[in-house]
């Protein structure tokens, strides 16, 4: 469902993503791990069509994001890293706007908005202005926007960032549940999340894949059977780089 082929991204002379290739099939939840600045968000932004790749391509449900961005974008639900929202809108107003952009109308729109509100536990704040929401609610409102059109592919950039432990648990369960019939790519630096929610994980460092496998395979490779140790072994620290 997601097919990334030799994708690279330069920002000036800096190489942010270096010839990255991976696939995510339907029913798979791929955890995208790596230290800060490894190129995770840049890769996701290229797959979602926000940033044009310097070279290479990404296909979503067989549709190239560079050749046919409009069609490809209809298949994707995306939660950006900072969960950006329009602060002057209410939660329901924002979701209605997103539904309109996604070409949903009439009862299909109302059902979709209602379902997204329920799935992301937003009922109590549905009519509240977004600028009065706490970080957890803001994050979930943005997640609701990504789920609205029931996309085949979900790309979530640090979906549990800033959530409390209960909310983190709920979101992981949600990812697991949705992952059964969708292709999900999500990034995180919380290694327990990999075991809790992913069917497969890749570790990225300085724009390249340095480890790839199911959580069990990665743990088997790891010194002391610890993902943290493996992560430390295969990635470079800021001070070393």
């Amino acid at each position: 469902m997601i097919e990334v082929v030799n994708i690279s991204k330069h920002f000036g002379t800096k190489l942010a993503v270096d010839n990255l290739s991976f696939t995510v099939k339907k029913g798979e939840v791929l955890g995208f791990l790596g230290p800060n600045g490894a190129g995770k968000s840049t890769t996701m932004r290229m797959v979602t069509g926000f940033l044009p790749p310097s070279s290479g391509d990404a296909k979503v449900c067989g549709i190239s994001i560079t050749e046919n961005p409009y069609e490809a974008k209809t298949k994707i639900g995306y939660l950006p890293e900072s969960a950006p929202l329009y602060n002057d809108m209410t939660v329901i107003g924002f979701l209605n706007f997103c539904a309109n952009v996604r070409k949903l109308s009439g009862s299909a729109k109302n059902d979709a908005v209602e379902k997204a509100i329920e799935t992301c536990f937003l009922t109590s704040v549905a009519h509240q202005s977004i600028d009065t929401l706490s970080k957890g609610y803001r994050h979930r409102t943005c997640l609701a926007q990504a789920l609205l059109h029931d996309p085949e592919v979900l790309i979530l950039d640090e979906p549990t960032d800033g959530l409390d432990p209960n909310q983190k648990y709920e979101v992981r369960q949600l990812i697991k549940r949705l992952g059964k019939d969708k292709a999900i790519l999500f990034s995180t630096h919380i290694l327990e999340e990999v075991e809790a929610a992913c069917t497969r994980a890749v570790i990225v460092d300085r724009g390249r894949i340095v480890a790839d496998g199911t959580p069990a395979e990665l743990i088997a490779q790891a010194p002391n059977s610890s993902l943290t140790e493996l992560f430390r072994k295969v990635t470079t620290t800021d001070t070393a780089a």
């Binding site: 926000f50 044009p52 069609e71 974008k73 995306y78 950006p80 329009y86 107003g93």
Partner: protein, 242 residues
Amino acid sequence: MNTLTIYLRELKSYFAQPTAYALIVIFVFLSLGLTFTFGAFMRTGDLSLFYFFFYHPWLYMLLAPAISMKLWADEQRNGTIELLGTFPVSTWSIIAGKFLAAATVSLVALLLTFPMVITVNFLGNPDNVAIISSYIGSFLVCCTFIAITMLVSAFTRDQVVCLIVSVTICTIMVLCGYEPVTTELAKATSPGTAEAVASLSVWSQFASLERGMFRLQDFIWFASFISISLIGTSTILSAKRA
């Protein structure tokens, strides 16, 4: 369809905050206030609305940037540009929707000056065609300044920087065709240079519409300034991502 969705969101956003109301009230108050004070509307005994429209470009050079400075600067600051960029919407629909929303706010402000039209019609028999064409000219001047501000807004995530730069550009566009300035410029340089500089100004186009003349060249002038600014906006936005 998508342009309409973006347009409605932007328009609601204007009216959900005090921005639109403040700008509309200030425009109506100042445009009428200046007509009756510096424009000496009552003393001249003239039924034309020349002095009423005369102050519009001066007001727009400050107010049009204030209306439109947030259009892209805000999206870039809040990161919502990333949402828009991953929605199945073309950049052009977004640019058109935003431009039309800002233009609508200014149109509302302009239409709320209707008591002036009623007044002159009540007092006598004015040239209503010239009044209508002046309104069209005034609206086009505002749209030109909105488009220029949008272009500046695409460069920066800082609204204040956008406001300062756009006000400067719009002020230059008003001043470089203003008669006292062109006279001085012609003396200092050559009449040809002054004329060339004045062609960048909104005055001559606006002046012919104020006299009730619908000249194709004026509409082409406004349309080209607006479309160049909007194309520039689209180019800057794409260049920033590349």
